[in-house]
């Protein structure tokens, strides 16, 4: 760090604080709003200081749900989101590490065409292939199920590519030493490659968990039952009400709750995550 003289340092700090305020203010508003009385918010008289309905609102949000649009407790929505996000993250890592292993370490016919096929799917986001995917999931009777929520999102070209790039940096001699040490392909994968990929897996897990948690379009399409909806869909449904007043404190509480798991994952895995992104030492 360059030591700046007093005045310039204060300016820099002020700018940084403004930046933090811009990012943090909406979050603060959400937290404050979730503790206020709904009537106050609806009148546009919301105070910028926390109100006194914290426990009441959060209890109702988690265990009861709104009284209007969707009567599903948010606790259940969070469970759905959590299961979906975990299935997607773990599934993606498992599938892509195995396919990257096959592509990097085995010489089989059409290896490169297969690699390019996987690679090309990078260019097809969920939105583009959504109709055929929906049709397949519907035909397999997977609508309104965890399988339907997670399976179509598991195949991942990005993660495969990432693991491929990582495997290519692993020195060939490690494989050769393993062969001489009597380790077959599965042994090498399990004993050497997986432990070496630990930080990469952690980094990917963080990214993929958040990706899975924030899924919106796909769950919106394939969940019709209230008890299968994810928290992202829940928030949306709570806001749109036809004749009743939007229950803003509950909406805000739900939004706050929706933020917590990704924050928790990032904080818990931060060390591994950063190492996974920057580590080069083998």
């Amino acid at each position: 760090m360059v030591e700046e003289e007093g005045f310039r340092r204060y300016v820099a700090h002020i700018i940084l604080w403004i930046g933090i305020a811009i990012v943090a203010f909406p979050v603060y508003i959400a937290i404050v709003a979730s503790t206020q009385d709904n009537a106050l918010i609806a009148n546009g008289q919301m105070s910028l200081l926390p109100g006194g309905h914290f426990f009441e609102t959060y209890y109702q949000t988690i265990f009861v749900g709104t009284s209007g649009s969707t009567r599903e407790p948010v606790g259940n929505m969070m469970l759905n989101s959590l299961v979906t996000a975990l299935l997607i993250a773990v599934g993606k890592i498992a599938i892509s590490i195995i396919s990257a292993y096959a592509i990097v370490y085995f010489r089989f016919p059409f290896r490169m065409p297969i690699f390019w096929l996987i690679f090309i799917t990078l260019m097809l986001p969920v939105e583009v292939r959504i109709y055929p995917t929906y049709k397949i999931v519907a035909d397999l009777h997977m609508l309104d199920s965890y399988a339907g929520l997670s399976l179509p999102l598991i195949a991942s070209a990005t993660a495969t590519l990432l693991f491929r790039q990582f495997f290519m940096t692993v020195p060939d001699e490690l494989l050769e030493a393993s062969r001489i040490d009597g380790a077959g392909p599965l042994r090498f994968f399990w004993d050497t490659l997986l432990p070496l990929s630990r930080t990469n897996m952690a980094a990917l897990f963080v990214i993929l968990f958040i990706l899975g948690w924030n899924q919106y379009l796909w769950p919106l399409l394939i969940t019709t039952r209230d008890d299968m909806q994810t928290i992202q869909i829940g928030i949306r449904k709570m806001i749109t009400t036809t004749d009743a007043l939007t229950e803003w404190p509950i909406v805000m509480a739900t939004a706050v709750l929706a933020m917590l798991p990704p924050v928790f994952v990032v904080v818990a895995m931060q060390k591994l995550f950063v190492r996974g992104l920057v580590e080069t030492e083998k």
Binding site: L174, A177, I180, A183, D191, E281, K282
Partner: protein
């Protein structure tokens, strides 16, 4: 306890490139065989073929009386030390050494005995719980050796194991490897591009060039009687002076022997003496001193001959044509620019056919 025999071993890559063009080598039980040659000569490929890491496209590799061409590396009863050590980065030193034994289903107690014994020999006992990244280069090197030793294989294979170490450590480890090999009495094949390492380690030296064996034999025998100009200039540092016998000056001095047919004359730098006399049957050359290198115990004199262009460019041509290196003991040396005469006796002359592929006895 095993011989290693290579019979007309060949390696052709799918693209048609022939990396090994028929190699015959016989390494006796307990012998230390060194494959030496410039980079790209196929020495590493040959070693990897013995290890089973490269397929053999022709000929036979025989370890301990068993043709191993189709046998997996793990089942050949060999252990290999890699240039970059190839230690498992996530395993402790102990586990690095134990891994191969566990994969073979050895009892944990026996593994412990073997690893601890190897660690004691290699002075690694205090580091068994460390990870490779917490070790210095020399220590990693030892772990790689330990991993080979605990297996108690029939054959050790070394692929330039010392080239990642600094010069001082390299010499120390070289001596250690030799001592260890003597004590274990395990047949070893060692690849290096460093001719000094090759000379000091080998029982049998195999000099390779362009996928072929140039010469096989005892290192000193090779040094004294190199079979080709390639070997002559590769073994020994600084390299042997090679010159054409065409000029009258040299031709006249060589008259009256097999030397008449020779196309190339070779004289080692240390076989020259600065003198005004011409030894009987020997060769004397007038030189102008161009440069002097004093390294303490000896001095190298770089001189140019009157007629330039006479020196034959040897394969790893290290000297410009017409330049001669003379090695003299001590630090006494002529001044730069001085004209001197150097001479070598008959028995120190090396004569080769014009293409450098054949040695002629004088």
């Amino acid at each position: 306890m095993a011989n290693v025999t290579l019979r007309n071993v060949r390696k052709t890559y799918p693209g048609g490139f022939e990396a090994i063009k028929g190699v015959d080598v016989d390494v006796g039980d307990g012998q230390f065989c060194v494959l030496v040659g410039p980079s790209g000569c196929g020495k590493s490929t040959l070693l990897r073929m013995v290890a089973g890491l490269e397929t053999v496209t022709g000929g036979e590799i025989d370890i301990g009386g068993r043709v191993v061409n189709q046998i997996e590396p793990a089942d050949r009863d060999i252990a290999m030390v890699f240039q970059n050590y190839a230690l498992y980065p996530h395993m402790s030193v102990y586990n690095n050494m134990a891994y191969g034994l566990r994969n073979r289903g050895m009892a944990e107690a026996e593994i412990k005995t073997r690893v601890e014994e190897a660690a004691r020999v290699l002075e690694l006992s205090a580091m068994l719980e460390r990870k490779p990244r917490q070790l210095s280069g020399g220590q990693r090197q030892r772990v790689a050796m330990g991993r080979a030793i605990v297996r108690q294989p029939k054959v050790f294979l070394f692929d330039e194991p010392l080239s990642n170490l600094d010069a001082k450590l390299r010499i120390a480890m070289r001596v250690e490897i030799r001592k260890l090999q003597r004590r274990l009495n395990t047949t070893s094949i060692y690849v290096t591009h460093d001719q000094l390492e090759a000379m000091t380690l080998a029982d049998i030296l195999v000099v390779m060039n362009g996928g072929q064996v140039e010469q096989v034999g005892n290192p000193l025998a090779i040094y004294e009687k190199p079979a080709t100009t390639f070997v002559a200039s590769f073994i020994g540092a600084p390299p042997m002076n090679l010159m054409s016998t065409r000029p009258e000056e040299i031709r006249s001095q060589l008259a009256g022997s097999a030397a008449a047919d020779a196309g190339i004359l070779g004289i080692r730098p240390e076989d020259f003496v600065i003198t005004d006399q011409t030894p009987a049957g020997g060769v004397a050359l007038p030189l102008t001193v161009e440069a002097i290198e004093r390294v303490g115990a000896e001095t190298f004199v770089y001189g140019s001959r009157e007629q330039e262009d006479q020196r034959v460019a040897a394969t790893p041509g290290e000297l410009p044509p017409g330049e001669i290196i003379v090695r003299i003991p001590g630090t006494e040396a002529p001044a730069i620019g001085q004209k001197i005469r150097v001479a070598a006796v008959r028995s120190k002359l090396h004569l080769f056919s014009g293409d450098g592929r054949k040695r002629l006895e004088a």
